[in-house]
Symmetry: C2
């Protein structure tokens, strides 16, 4: 017990907290034993698509989570309100254990689907991944890269497009696993996907530990998140709100 | 139907999609009729705390969401993996309709609680807000600024600290509203808070529309997110995973 430790405030209590939150922890990031997780950012992505999974997957023992884009630097969301820093360019990243491709509004999704640099990189990385994953319309980008087979999920409003364009069956689940490709439904479904991935990568006990670590005990105040149960009016409102918030 | 519209791909279908995703939308961001929402970033924040609410609140009609920090520029998360850009310094922001203070690991939380520049700014902004809100250990920062009364929530492992330090009762709900101060539980609870705020700011119908827009129909693969139901072993594991992922 050195003095730095004893004079330092600890705002988190519990069985392991005193030891856990002392100085000198946090060396896990420097290790390379855990999974290398890469998230592809591109202009117009939806903020929660990469950040929900990153919050969860960064808690895996020894894991590194890297935000990657065509070029290093800030990448702006669909609403233009927020920018997340890409720490690496695609040219700098050659191997990943997990690739995650987030979704975007129409503009961002279409631009990514038509970007040969991104599609080539996705295909190249996919060869050696353990899991190749997507959130929301990210599955359309995986489709454009030729990686979808049989079944997939995507944003509810893109289900028809997915089926017609890529000849796969849309499955309205939170996430759908076909071989090593795991697609998630819209935006917030990336969090559910991330816990599934956590259990695949590190076992169910660790996944449950992370669930408690981020207090993921969701209690939405309303019950309007399921497109299958939504009225045409609510669907129209949802798409209007999206369109008007996006640039 | 101009040619730019008809040649442009539309990957999202539905009642309003054709109109909603055409060119020339997205003017809402330029308007100032909606709520001005500010999120305070500081070194070591937990990524989902600000980004979950930002995803939801940015869909409110006419809303602006601004990431704010002591200085403009990239602000790094507790795991050091990810940086979000602060678009404004606290010195540049004088009025907000909604202030949201995210949580962090022990190091980041304590540093923010001891930072007079941030605490003074929070107090100053709070005078004119409609809602002053927090996620996770962000409530401890509101406490350090002198803004907590009677009841609040926080990260489960900080409940004792909250009660002893600020003399308020810890309520284990996803969010707790006392006057215009609304505190949320750990990390992912910020999303539930955001839907509550959305309904307060724009009404329940809009909040439900946003819920469908981000397909928030959570289905965690495990049921370990509630600290009240967790074993001491799982709590210890959760805190260990947090500590080892944080720097």
């Amino acid at each position: 017990m050195d003095s730095a430790k004893t004079t330092r405030r600890t705002v988190l209590a519990g069985v392991a907290a005193a030891a856990a939150f002392g100085l000198g922890t946090g060396t896990a990031q420097a290790e390379t034993k855990g999974p290398k997780i890469g998230i592809l950012l591109y202009d117009g992505f939806s903020l929660l698509d990469p950040t929900g999974p990153a919050e969860v997957l960064a808690r895996l023992p020894g894991a590194t989570v890297t935000m990657i884009a065509q070029e290093r630097g800030p990448v702006r969301t669909d609403t233009r309100d927020v920018a997340v820093l890409a720490e690496r360019s695609v040219a700098e990243v050659h191997r990943l254990d997990v690739l995650l491709v987030p979704g975007a509004g129409n503009r961002g999704t279409v631009a990514a689907m038509e970007n040969p640099v991104l599609l080539d990189w996705i295909r190249r990385i996919h060869r050696h991944t353990t899991w190749t994953t997507s959130v929301c319309t990210g599955s359309l980008i995986l489709g454009a890269a030729g990686l979808l087979r049989e079944r997939a999920t995507t944003y509810w409003a893109s289900a028809d497009y997915l089926e017609k364009t890529f000849g796969v069956r849309y499955v309205p689940e939170r996430y759908v696993q076909v071989g090593k490709v795991v697609t998630a439904a819209g935006v917030s479904a990336g969090i559910d996907l991330a816990f599934h991935l956590a259990s695949l990568l590190a076992g169910e006990e660790i996944a449950r530990g992370i669930q408690l670590a981020v207090e993921y005990d969701p209690q939405p105040p309303f019950d309007s998140g399921d497109a299958a149960a939504a009225s045409p009016e609510l669907k129209a409102l949802a798409l209007k709100l999206l369109a008007e918030s996006q640039v």
